[in-house]
Each structure stands twice: as C-alpha cells, then as structure tokens.
Amino acid sequence: MNLGYLAYRNMISKPLNLVLSLLLLVLSISLVTFVLQLSKQLNGQIDKNIGPVDMVVGAKGSPLQLVLSSVLHIDVPTGNIKLNEANSIKKHPFVGSAIPVSYGDNYKGYRILGTEPAYFESYGAVLAEGRYFEKSFEAVVGNGVAKKLQLKIGDVFTSSHGLVAENVEAHEEHPYTVVGLLEPTGTVLDQLLISNLESIWDAHAHNDGDHKDENDEAHEEGEHDHEAHDHEAHDHEAHDHEAHDHEAHDHEAHDHDETHDHEDDHEAHTDEGDDHDDHAHDDELEITSLLVKFKSPLGLIQLPRFINENTTMQAALPSFEIQRLMGLLGSGVKTINGVAIAILLVSGFSIFISLLKTIRERRQELALLRTYGLGTQKLLYLVLLEGLFLAFLGFLLGWSLGRLALMMASSYMESGYGYVLQIKPPDLMELLFLGVTLVIAMIAVFLASISIFKLNISKTLADV
C-alpha cells in the first residue's frame, strides 16, 4: 500500500471536515476563475467587434452610447443622421472606408441591420451557404441567430418595430427572405440579421403610408421599391389632397419612431414636389450611423474634432470609449479579484488549521506508523500529500464551479445582449493560479507539521 492511498483514505474519512476545509478554497477559486474568464472573453469579443471601426459618426448624444449601439449592438441608438451629410464625410481624404448602418427593427429580439456589402468584408465574414443580398428584403443571417432560430435559406420572417422582442408592432407587409447564412465570426455579426439599407427605409416608409388608402393602393400597384413608393407619396401630397395630407403626414411622422423621423418631409416634398430625381430623394434619407475606417492616422486626430465642431453629427472613437468603459469595469474586476485573493489566503489558513487538527487527532496513528518503520520524512510526505490532495480537489471543484457560473452568465448574456461566452479548458493564468494554490497548501502543511518532528512515540503510544 502506498502513502498516496493512505493520504486519500485519510482525507475522505471525515467528509464534513473535508467539506469545511474545501469550502473557502472552492469559493475563492471559482470567483477568480469566473471573473478572469469573463473579463478576458468580454475584452476579446469587444476588441474583435471594434477592430474594423476606427470612428463612428452618428447623432449627437453620448459617445459611449453611440459606440455601444452602432458597433457592439447592445444599446439603443442616439438618433439618426442624414445620409447626404454622412456621405460628405466619405469624401474626406483621411477616410478609408465608410459603411452606413441603419437599424431599429428586430426579429425575435435579434437586430435587423441595414448596411452595405462592405460591412461583411470589414469583419472578414464569409458565407457558409447561399449568397449576399441583392435587393431589398433579402437577409443574410449571422451564425448565432441562424442556429438559435433555426433559420435556413428561403425562410421568410417579418420584422418587428424596435429592438426588443416584446414589441408587437410588426411590419407584416414586408417580409424578409433569408438568402445567405454566415460562417461563425466570433463577432457581433453572429447575432445579426443583415439586409440592405433600402429594406430598412422601405419598411418604415411604408409603415408611414399604411394609414392612407391611396398609399395602400399605390403599394399594391407599385413595386416593392422605396423609390417608386415614395414617388406615389409625393404625387399624392403635391397634387391631390394637399391640406389633408399635410396633416396626416405630420401626424404620422410624430407617431413614428424617432429613428425615422420624417418631420421635415412635407416641406421637402412641397419644395421639390415635382422633382422626381434621386438626388432630391437622398436629402431625406437617414441612417443611424456611419462606421469609418481611417486611411491615415491623421484622421484620428483631425476628423472627430472637425465633425463634432462643424456638423450636427457627433464622432466617437470606439477604442477610446471602450477603454474608458473598461477602466470603470476594470476596477470592479480588480476589486473582485482582490476579494478572491483574500479569501484564498483565508482558505490557506483554514487548510492549515484543518491539517493541524488532523495531525493532533491522529498523533497516535502517526506514532504507530513510526513503529511500522516510516520515518519522520515519510510522515511529512504523507501530510503533504493530504494537503496537496485537498488543494487540488479544491481547485478542481472551484474551477468547475467557475465554469458553471460562466455557462449561466453566458445564457443570461445571450438572451440579454446576444453575447456568448465560451467554456474553455484551463488557460495559463488559471494554471498559474493552481500553482499558487498548491504553494499555499504546502506552506500550510509545513507549518502544521512542526509537531511531527517533535513526535514522542513512546509517550504518545503509552497514552490511554
């Protein structure tokens, strides 16, 4: 029989003692591993998500909100900006690429994003199946959404107004057709349904006209094309029922969601009532934001200030905003880690007490082992094995508990924010932490074992 087996049997012979000495250890290790993994994975995901975007241009408001909503898709947008105003930024020599995004609808809680095909490229997204959208109301579906909602090529879905699933106002007259499925990217794309900008415009433009008989007719006659549709609206306002329509239109505009506020529409219409060219049309079109990648690092210095001071829009730098946010969260992570380390030290102390107690209780057994021929060194080794078993078991349980907590956090975050946390094998940091735990256990063992060196077997065995 080897000492390892004896140590193991000794350890499990008193389950309650075992639980007591493991409790703190498990608590501290689960806390540390959970927080480390959470912050590491969140940072990793956020870095990936903001990677392709140097600057976001959107409506004035909180820059952090703009970044969270337009890049990470975990907040509501600050408002809308004019497409032609946004387009003027595209022409700036420091701008490499500028991708307009527009959103405001969801399907079962997953955001529908209107954008350009360049959006896929910027994230390096690849199609797993199907093709990219070619016309309005064709959607390319992120891997996570497709899995969760079991969407396939050819599936049809209707969008709901707003960004949360509870909203019941649906755009039933404009169903989307799934034409492409994306490979997993590990970015926010996995959680999005992506179509072209026109789809977003059309869904809402049509929604405006929904309450007008003439527009309904026009819709039935016309193509599902926003330009044609808008022309109908223009004609109607300009020539047929001016007074009535102005009122109706204003009314609709107010009812409508702020992301597609057409308050100025009727003025534009009356001014350019007969002008049917696309340029006039562009004046009214709005997007939520513009995702900019700089061509030159100078852009980083000049453009945000220029936009913030000279336009009605605001520019936000994702990396800066996220750094600011993480600075706040980071101190939280540090605090929790500090608490966990304190618990770990206390747990080291509790292991020490527990070993001290076992050594005292088992003094006679240790003396007996001495008469069996086990020297002081071997007895020390036995207690060391017990201490290390304890530490290792505690680490294993704590680590598993930490991962379990991560799984729970993942399902919570997925339903709330569309972020998924991965359950990964132990990383270097965690192995290092295992080492620290074992060292603490060893120190506890040596402190507790001093009495072994002084063991008087004659006296101990004669004691009744």
């Binding site: 029989m1 012979s13 057994e365 001495r370 008469t371 021929g373 004659s458 065995l461």
Partner: protein, 208 residues
C-alpha cells in the same frame, strides 16, 4: 537474538530503573512479570528503541540498536520488531485488511496476500477483513493487534499486557495464539505483564 547489558533508564530528575540483563536465543520466548510501577512499559519501549537508554546497551539480531540514529532505528524497528500495545492502535480510516496490508508494506514493500489471509483465518478475522476497525469487538481488536504484531515476520515480538482485560478462557487463548504465531513467524516473543495467569505458559521468566 535479544541481549541487554546493564540497562538503565531515568526520567529527568527522577530515580531511575535498573533492569536485569536479558539474553534470548532466536525463537526463544520470555515472560517479564512485575507489579505496576516497576517500569515494565518503560522496558518495552527501551527494547523497541522508542525511548533512549540512560545507560547500558541492547543488541537485537546482532545489531546494537542503542547506537542507531532515529531514522535507522525507525527502519530497524519497522522490519525486525513486532509490537503489540496494551492500548490498541490502528489506522481508523483504513479497514481491517488494509491495516494489515499497510503493516506488510513498510519498511520493505511486500504484499503477501497468502500469508495475510492465512493469518486472518487463524485469528478468526476472515469475515471481518472489510470492516472498519472501529466496528470490531474488543476481542476482534485484540486479535487484530496480534496480527499486526506478527504479520511482517519480525525477529522479535514485544507484547505489553496483552491479557489485561480478558477472562481466564480468553487469556489462555490469547497467550496460546501469541505463542503459536510467534512460532510460525519464527520470532522470539517477549510478553511483559503483571498478569500471573500467564506465567504457567512460560518456562523462561524474569521478575522485576
């Protein structure tokens, strides 16, 4: 096998004990008789190297154990001495069989199942091998203690008051078992007791 010359022991500041010389040939048995307080247990602890002698020397199996250091003494004792204590000592987290296996394993790593099972059978422990030691009756614990003293085939077995809590029948049985097992292991047996009932079993006796 066991030889002592001018053995003395004194606790600090107390009047010490002076023990008569012992000389045993291999396989020879000895009974040490004496009332309480004359240093019987002290003698046993001296002989087994658990207490350092104040004066004199002890030779067991041709080795002068009084000159061994602690580590060598631990090893020597583990291999060549069997001890049966007045107060039973077992490893409580192990079952009966595992306790015997453990005794077999040190200091030489051996695992003689055959010998262990035969011994258990002779001592009526076969049915109890998988039990926890705390579940054994007093008599079974006594027999397990004997098994622990002889299982590793020591050169000499020291037994301290092995019959003190037993009635006459059991006293005779236990002494007989001890002698039989010592003979089977070809060990010398030294019993130290105040129990006069034991004296009829031994021709070789010392009175303290």
């Amino acid at each position: 096998m066991v030889k002592t010359i001018g053995l003395k022991f004194a606790y600090a500041g107390e009047q010490g004990f002076h023990f008569p010389d012992i000389d045993l040939t291999p396989g020879e048995h000895l009974l040490v008789l004496g009332p309480s307080g004359v240093g019987k247990t002290t003698l046993l602890h001296l002989l087994s190297g658990m207490l350092p002698v104040s004066d004199g020397k002890i030779v067991i199996d041709n080795i002068e154990v009084t000159s061994l250091d602690r580590k060598s003494m631990d090893e020597f004792r583990g291999g060549r001495i069997g001890l049966i204590f007045q107060q039973y000592h077992f490893i409580k987290s192990l079952n009966v069989d595992e306790n015997l296996q453990l005794r077999q394993s040190y200091p030489k790593r051996t695992k003689d199942n055959e010998r262990r099972y035969r011994l258990a059978e002779r001592l009526g422990l076969t049915a109890h091998l998988k039990k926890k030691v705390t579940q054994l009756s007093q008599g079974q614990q006594q027999r397990l203690a004997i098994a622990q003293g002889v299982i590793h085939q020591p050169k000499v077995v020291f037994a301290d008051e092995p019959t003190s809590n037993l009635d006459d029948d059991n006293c005779n049985n236990v002494v007989q078992l001890l002698k039989d097992e010592a003979d089977i292991s070809e060990s010398s047996l030294v019993i130290i007791t105040h129990d006069q009932r034991v004296s009829q079993h031994f021709s070789n006796q010392i009175v303290l």
